[in-house]
């Protein structure tokens, strides 16, 4: 059992895959920014943004419905926005009784709620597409080029490298715990919640020490290969004409969505 499931890159030779990772990051962020700037009820602009997303899906060779399939991950969070249904004054649409509350859904509340969900739904799909068409190490390079401090990108690179190793360790620890989590007939098994939390804490402490000692070994291995406090990276990325044109087109499209949204 391995945590390759974390890696959501889908290999392909599509137009999007071949773009410079910086372009992909900028385009995704601008798209998400644009969603946040669109006003509630800007249906046409939302619709255009969705078509833009579909086009991006199409250009990725992953299929039109690719991002849709995983797009519901943020849905549980919609719960938190539920209150706007009732809290914004407007024309009452429907009233009902829930526990001790008399709730009235208003047209303005519904408009806002749906707008929030659409923004979130569109944005999360773009983020899904981004990691599907850009290898994570390339994304880290893109962040370096985009002036994210080197110490942070280096930490992220290490994190990505050892994430899989440590996640496997967690998995084995939890399996060993599960394997000894038995019950005796007629006895209440499992101990108290605090005891179980303490065991989880011991596992975290155990993992901490192992990680700490591993970082020592990593450091020694780096020293052995001449590390002197600075990480050198080779960066093969170079912006080509195609990249500039794509960025320009994306920005134009986003500008157009914003204009439509404000008409």
């Amino acid at each position: 059992m391995h945590f390759d499931a974390f890696d959501r890159y889908h290999d392909s030779e599509s137009f999007l895959h071949r773009l410079d990772p910086r372009v992909k990051v900028v385009a995704a962020v601008v798209f998400i920014l644009s969603n946040a700037l669109l006003q509630d009820g800007a249906w046409i602009a939302f619709g255009l943004s969705w078509l833009f997303l579909l086009l991006a899906n199409q250009l990725s060779n992953l299929g039109l419905g690719f991002t849709f399939r995983r797009s519901l991950v943020a849905l549980p969070f919609a719960l938190i926005a539920l209150t706007v249904l009732f809290s914004i004054p407007g024309k009452p649409l429907s009233s009902f009784h829930f526990l001790v509350w008399d709730l009235t859904i208003t047209d303005a509340g519904l408009l806002r709620f749906v707008s929030i969900l659409i923004r979130s739904w569109l944005s999360v799909q773009m983020a899904i597409l981004l990691v599907a068409v850009a290898r994570f190490p390339d994304l880290i390079h893109a962040l370096e080029h985009l002036r994210v401090p080197g110490i942070l990108t280096t930490i992220i690179a290490f994190l990505y490298r050892y994430l899989f190793v440590l996640a496997d360790e967690v998995f084995r620890l939890m399996r060993a715990r599960e394997s000894r989590s038995a019950a005796a007939p007629g006895k209440r098994a499992g101990g108290s919640v605090a005891w179980r939390a303490g065991i989880a804490g011991h596992m975290a402490g155990q993992l901490f020490l192992r990680s700490y000692e591993r970082s020592d070994r990593v450091y020694n291995a780096m020293l052995a290969r001449g590390y002197a406090g600075h990480m050198e990276t080779i960066n093969p990325h170079e912006l080509r004409r195609r990249d500039y044109i794509t960025v320009a087109l994306v920005l134009l499209a986003i500008l157009f969505f914003q204009l439509v949204g404000r008409l």
């Binding site: 399996r175 038995a182 019950a183 098994a189 101990g191």
Partner: protein, 236 residues
Amino acid sequence: MTTALQVQDLHFSYHDGHAALRGVTFQVCEGDKVALVGPNGAGKSTLMLHLNGILTGQGEVNVGGKRLTRENLSAIRSMVGLVFQNPDDQLFSPTVFEDVAFGPLHMGLPMNEVESRVNAALEAVRMTGFRDRLSHHLSVGEKKRIAIATVLSMDPQILVLDEPSAGLDPRARRTLINLLRELPITMLVSTHDIRLVQELFPRTIVMDEGIIVADGRTNDILGDEALLTAHGLEKP
């Protein structure tokens, strides 16, 4: 003789579609000590994870005459003592005592019984003096023995060990072999250590590519050179 463990036509595939078990059938009688050998990726570890329901495939697993189901999972877990290959995965508490006590405490046993079970388990692996030591500071050989004690304290009917002698120096390995010989308990042990097999186990099961390719007296199997070469094993 009573059957301690019976596996009937067990199939299992991982998420990626890789078929790890393709119809495994065997049984272990009470008091048997059985070796499980085969190359890496043969399905040995996967099979062991089925014996106490960590993984569940198609087919039947019976422990002590009871069929393993979702309902009696937690009862079965106390009957099958599974010892993992890397003792660091098994020892997640700060002190030896806490780790050996985890199983009995989880079962909800009263404190005095937990105490006596921990003492008995440590006694059985000859580690009585280590009760209050920190697991993190033990040698690999000591960790292995403590790992065995962590399941002995649950009073299992069968002990299932994954690669017990891997990574041990000759002395620690010798101590472990003596310990396994003396433990009066049914045992199924997966290993690459053919000399250990020869010394300890009257019966050997050979697995390869998810099926059992041979099951019989250790002397016969280790004498069958063609069988050994065909499945990537070496004559001792």
